[in-house]
């Protein structure tokens, strides 16, 4: 528990990815089984225990501390579990700090009524950091700034394997993952492939840069529309169906209509969309369906989910990943003629005669409300990760608007001394007077030299401060690039920009010549 609590403690204060990886690597190498496996389960949100923490803490709190002092402390600390950890009185500890396997086993054995006694006894035996880590551990999702994928990456790095090796096994193994660690340490054979559907690492695309385009022979590539949904892998085998996000998280629970209809034996790659009357709805509509534990009937009707398939990794027992793209595509089409599940279709292959025609189709994308094109090398096998030279995403040209810098805030990590997060506005009229209303926030798009100059500008033109936020003299125009504008009820301006970034800094342009809110509203994408 001590090593685990130190790990969690340091992870919360460490923003840099590499430093987090180092901390986790050291932990997995130095900690014995099965403790490290339970730690891995906690970091990947896969811990097989459930404790109603809030209720249990309320139950035991009164016996150990004054409720009035607890309330005042809670107001100061801002977090209930942390307050309990800090306020817990020092006692003559009975016995050593509990180990993670001991905690998991005892929680599983204890019924609902037994949790309070267990927790009290453990809290008595731990120091403040240990108590905090215990409560984090029992909460099921410690939230210490580590994604499930980063934790798996650390395990892979620690033992000199690739994360792909671990992803392939992941859904076939369970905490405390002793067979995984035994294999990683070379003490046992690789765990057998799971009988249940497992996640296959996905093949990802690079953004198309000008040199790529120049060097491209169009005959070598197939083209598809770039759909504005989320990437999904449908893995169905032996009557079980899983929907995996690109990071390998199973999101099937939120999409029961898909899981119910996808009864086949294949692993397919595609885009998850909300589709009405054959047309893809906006990303905002899809967001209504994401990250939900339960789905109402009304949501199924209002936001019908759909998968547009574009690749096949396995069909039946056959692994197709070594085949070229065109061969896999033929197999996908043949499969579809046979199976054709509801709530799905195929992503159309676009025909084009040459480079010019391809470019014309790309230019037409915005008019059709489409994000851009995908270009896939016809001979490429299905490769895990983001290999160079195989798949390209060619996003439609960005829209731009001239906006005025209004507020700035410091960044984090290497940017912690720079004002690098900018809120910008557009002109509108209020009571007949021109005023600036905030329309978005941008953090990127400038070089280090430009950042240094922007930082100086913010410091020299600050007119007010609200905590970490500086309000600046509204006189600097930023040309903002963005992918789309959508109506929004959450923002005062009534609009929301997708992927705004700074494309140019208009040191030359007077603020009064910046764009108006009405102009921006005119760019709202009409979607079905």
């Amino acid at each position: 528990m001590k090593a685990f609590s130190q790990l969690l403690d340091r992870l919360t204060y460490t923003p840099a990815r590499n430093a987090k990886l180092m901390l986790m690597r050291n932990y997995f190498l130095a900690t014995p089984d099965p403790d490290r496996g339970y730690a891995l389960a906690a970091l990947t949100d896969g811990l097989p225990i459930e404790v109603p923490l809030r209720r249990v803490l309320a139950e035991i709190g009164g016996s150990r501390f004054d409720p009035a002092l607890f309330r005042m402390s809670r107001d100061d600390v801002g977090d209930t579990a942390e307050t309990v950890a800090l306020i817990w009185p020092v006692t003559q500890a009975q016995g050593d700090a509990p180990r993670l396997p001991e905690i998991v086993a005892a929680v599983a054995r204890a019924g609902r009524g037994g949790h309070a006694a267990l927790l009290t006894q453990w809290l008595d035996r731990l120091d403040a950091t240990g108590r905090w880590a215990l409560l984090k551990f029992l909460s099921g999702a410690p939230r210490v700034g580590v994604s499930a994928r980063l934790a798996k990456q650390a395990v892979a790095d620690a033992f000199g394997h690739s994360i792909g090796d671990i992803e392939e096994l992941w859904h076939g193994i369970t905490p405390p993952y002793t067979e995984l660690f035994a294999w990683l340490e070379g003490k046992a054979l690789r765990p057998p492939p799971a009988a249940t559907p497992v996640f296959r690492p996905m093949m990802l695309a690079h953004a198309l840069e000008e040199p790529d385009w120049q060097a491209m022979n169009p005959g070598d590539f197939a083209a598809e529309w770039k759909w504005d949904g989320i990437r999904i892998q449908v893995a169905a085998r032996g009557g079980a169906t899983r929907l995996f996000s690109r990071t390998g998280d199973d999101i099937g629970q939120a999409f029961p209509e898909l899981v119910d209809h996808f009864r086949f034996d294949a692993v397919l790659d595609g885009e998850l969309l909300v589709v009405r009357n054959g047309g893809a709805a906006s990303f905002q509509d899809l967001q209504q369906r994401l990250n939900r534990k339960t789905v109402t009937r009304a949501m199924l009707t209002r936001y019908p989910a759909h998968v547009r398939f574009y690749d096949a990794l396995e069909i039946g027992a056959e692994d197709l990943r070594g085949l070229p793209f065109t061969a896999r595509r033929e197999r996908l089409e043949a499969w579809r003629r046979q199976v054709d599940p509801a709530h799905s279709d195929l992503s159309e292959l676009l025909t084009f005669a040459g480079k010019e025609e391809l470019k014309a189709r790309w230019e037409a994308a915005r008019g059709e409300g489409i994000e851009g094109l995908m270009l896939k090398r016809r001979t490429s096998p299905y490769l895990a990760g983001r290999p160079k030279g195989h798949w390209y995403k060619w996003k439609r040209a960005a829209l731009t608007a001239d906006c005025v810098l209004l507020y700035a805030q410091k960044g984090s990590g290497k940017r912690s001394s720079f004002y690098s997060d900018y809120t910008f506005g557009a002109w509108t009229r209020k009571d007949g007077q021109p005023v600036l209303v905030p329309v978005g926030k941008a953090y990127s798009g400038f070089t280090d030299e430009e950042l240094a100059r922007l930082d100086r500008f913010v410091r020299q033109n600050t007119i007010d401060r609200f905590g970490p936020v500086r309000s600046v003299m509204p006189k600097l125009v930023l040309e903002i690039a963005f992918d789309a504008i959508q109506p929004s009820t959450r923002h005062k301006s009534g609009i929301a920009m997708r992927f705004p970034r700074v494309s140019r800094i208009r040191w030359d342009k007077p603020a009064k010549e910046a764009d108006t809110l009405e102009t921006l509203k005119g760019l709202i994408t009409s979607v079905s």
């Binding site: 501390f65 004054d66 005042m72 600390v77 801002g78 977090d79 942390e82 800090l86 290497k414 001394s417």
Partner: protein
């Protein structure tokens, strides 16, 4: 003989505590004709008084920070001094070099105004001495049971361990310039670290004063004179210089902060601190309760901090406590 209530001769007001039979203020918030100063921190030692009484160290610190002081009188610890109708004695408060509790005896009643104080051992000042009294005036900066400071040696070990883990990064630690800075340097030296500890210019004059008073702080050069980007070295600066332009000269600076506030994760995150060091020059909660109890005071006044919780806790222990809410005290400067 009836005992006069404390309020009749020791009056809390907007400019601080005023002792009527002695005709002086204690740590007044604005210029006063006669002031007794508990210690040199700027929220207690303000400029512009006509006459100042304090320990010799506090007076020296005030001169360094404020310039000339007008009429001054130094009083050593433990030497009673008659001031009009009262007797004043200064007793070590354990907060910083020169810090004193003000003990006032008047008509058989004793009041102790403790200023800021702590009970943790500190190699850079005399330890706090509890004085039995009838009225004890206390601060409550960390007046909540969630504040329990760790042993400072363990916190310094955390710093040295981080230097080993991240030898490519400058460890820039935010410290309050008077007291915390010099204490931390001594603690680091006691842990066996003998490399130079680099200083921000704002920490120079107080650190030099401690050295002149005989504290061995080792090599403490100016960070701006460093030959390189100080990867793997310790740099001390005021907290305000963490993540600011000044820090850009260093190698991927790892921001630390030595303060009792580092107990609370939200405060650590809010300041963007990666290495929190829970080292405080104030009492934690158990020390506050213990100190008040040890003085045997039947009445307690709480000057500033989280007074509500302390008043509540003392009430449970049959001690009459009231919150003064003195203005001008900056507990965030800890």
């Amino acid at each position: 003989m009836a005992v006069p209530p404390f309020e009749s001769w020791l009056r809390p007001g907007p400019s601080g505590l005023y002792c009527a039979p002695g005709d002086f203020f204690i740590d007044p918030a604005g210029p006063a004709p006669r002031a007794i100063i508990t210690h040199g921190h700027s929220d207690h030692a303000r400029p512009g008084h006509a006459a100042v009484l304090a320990t010799a160290d506090t007076l020296a610190i005030m001169r360094l920070r404020l310039g000339e002081l007008g009429q001054t009188q130094a009083l050593a610890y433990g030497e009673p001094l008659t001031v009009k109708d009262v007797t004043v004695t200064l007793v070590p408060a354990g907060h910083i070099l020169g810090s004193a509790q003000i003990v006032i005896d008047y008509q058989g009643q004793r009041a102790v105004i403790s200023g800021d104080y702590k009970r943790h051992a500190d190699p850079t000042c005399d330890p706090f001495e509890p004085v039995p009294c009838h009225l004890f005036v206390t601060e409550a900066t960390f007046g909540l049971p969630v504040y329990r400071h760790e042993p400072d040696t363990a916190e310094v070990r955390k710093l040295l361990a981080s230097l080993r883990d991240f030898p490519e990064r400058t460890h820039q630690i935010g410290v309050y310039g008077l007291g915390k800075c010099q204490r931390l340097i001594r603690l680091i030296r006691q842990a066996g670290y003998d490399r130079p500890i680099w200083l921000h210019g704002a920490l120079r004059s107080m650190t030099d004063y401690y050295v002149s008073r005989g504290f061995d702080l080792g090599a403490v050069p100016d960070a701006t004179d460093a030959p390189d980007r100080l990867a793997g070295e310790i740099v001390l600066s005021p907290p305000s210089a963490l993540g600011d332009r000044w820090s850009r000269r260093f190698a991927d600076p790892l921001p630390g902060f030595a303060s009792g506030w580092m107990r609370i994760r939200g405060r650590v995150r809010q300041r963007g601190v990666e290495l929190p060091l829970i080292i405080s020059d104030h009492c934690d909660w158990p020390e506050l309760i213990r100190t008040v109890t040890e003085t045997g005071a039947a009445e307690v006044w709480v000057t500033h901090g989280r007074e509500e919780a302390l008043v509540h806790e003392l009430g449970k222990r049959q001690i009459v406590a009231r919150a003064l809410r003195l203005v001008g005290r900056e507990d965030d400067a800890e």
